[in-house]
Symmetry: C2
Subunit: 248 residues, 2 copies
């Protein structure tokens, strides 16, 4: 659909997601951001806070995609092992950034809290890393090579993603259109297949739903070609209209 | 923490998740179910509706974990390619089940809809598959080898998971306890590390949060040993109490 667009994947690092304690929302946020700038989101992995697993996953995926994002595990406690693991994945040394130490010192001076060793750990980065600003709680994320390491807390991650975007090449924007109707998807499956074959450059997804007693289907079309997208949308609209009540 | 417990992973198959159109909730549901029966949830992958990717991912993960769950892509439309892809991953043939055809015939007889070829596609399974009941919309999921193939629609997936559970060996249940306090996690990071070292059989996670102007931390402890869990919980409680206001 968009073969020359940059590609990306996300590694969600966190036992709390795999234990069911926390419902992840970072995936959905990042997905929406990438669609807008034409970066194709190809894969997500959710893995535990285990050093060997983080190192292996980062090294596999940074060779496979243009951009790798990670969320989670960059705080001050013993279970925050993402920074060290990513540093090891790149075969680098961890170094303390005087610039970030200064920022943290300034941040903690404003409170009655001391800049202890645990907090100073958040000033350690792989040598050569660039920082991803954290306007919420100061300790930055970082970029090393094509890997962007962000916090797991959604509002902090979203703030850091502002810095991430300044590094990303934009592809052709992936446009989308939807048509929905109260018709079971199996009723229109055959003519929809014919339309998908007619429009190979418009990816068509069929999503059934139930609202009360009523069955319905939403057809989502995605393409980088606006004209083809709208031409396909007209034909899908006609197909659904012939088979059920259109959802306005 | 629970080395002899069975292991599992989930493959979420769906362009709609990667495009940001749909927020997945199946991961969280499955995670909570697995915790209750002592199955260790090790990994999740989110991948697009691409045959080669599905085949490769299924074959990699079914050799790595005791159980592989998949969600999405088993409906009647052209973009539902999970069943065929999993069949190919196992090197099997797709066969139409007379038993499921009969169920679908009975289901559609009750409506004014015909059992067309698209609907019959939902009666095709890899040879030797066992069915996962679908009390919501009839067309079942299936089990082949150690792979359990379920629908993507949350209420249908949840209904199918009832059948899935009858196949799973239970491990020692993973118990959990939490203590929270209004204290920044970096203030207690060092003594918490010492507690984690004292209780290697109790996994401790530290989750910071902000509520209005107040910083807080929740420590989550997980173990298969109830006595050790509660002993650790007492010590964590004491640590947090000494450093901030406990959240009741």
């Amino acid at each position: 659909m968009a073969q020359n667009n940059p590609t990306a994947c996300l590694i969600i690092i966190g036992n709390e997601i795999l234990s069911g304690r926390t419902q992840d929302t970072n995936l959905n946020f990042i997905a929406k951001q990438l669609v807008n700038i034409g970066v194709v989101f190809q894969e997500v992995r959710v893995i535990p806070d285990v050093e060997g697993t983080i190192i292996g996953t980062v090294n596999e995926l940074r060779n496979k995609y243009d951009y790798v994002f990670t969320t989670g595990g960059i705080g001050p406690t013993h279970d925050d092992i993402t920074t060290l693991s990513v540093t090891k994945a790149f075969g680098l040394q961890l170094v303390r950034s005087p610039e970030v130490v200064e920022k943290l010192r300034h941040y903690y001076e404003g409170s009655n809290r001391e800049l202890n060793e645990a907090r100073l750990k958040m000033a350690d980065f792989p040598e050569g890393a660039e920082f991803l600003d954290n306007p919420i709680s100061t300790a930055p994320g970082f970029k090393i090579g094509n890997v962007f390491v962000m916090a797991g807390i959604p509002n902090v991650m979203q703030a850091m993603f502002g810095s991430v975007k300044t590094y990303l090449k934009h592809g052709r924007k992936i446009l989308s259109a939807e048509v929905g109707a109260y018709v079971g998807e199996s009723a229109i499956a055959a003519p929809l297949t014919a339309l998908q074959e007619k429009y190979p450059d418009v990816e068509m997804g069929s999503y059934p739903f139930v609202r009360g007693e009523k069955f319905g289907t939403i057809i989502v079309m995605r393409s980088i070609d606006n004209e083809r997208l709208h031409s396909a949308q007209k034909e899908v609209y006609k197909l659904l209209q012939e088979n059920g009540e259109i959802i306005q």
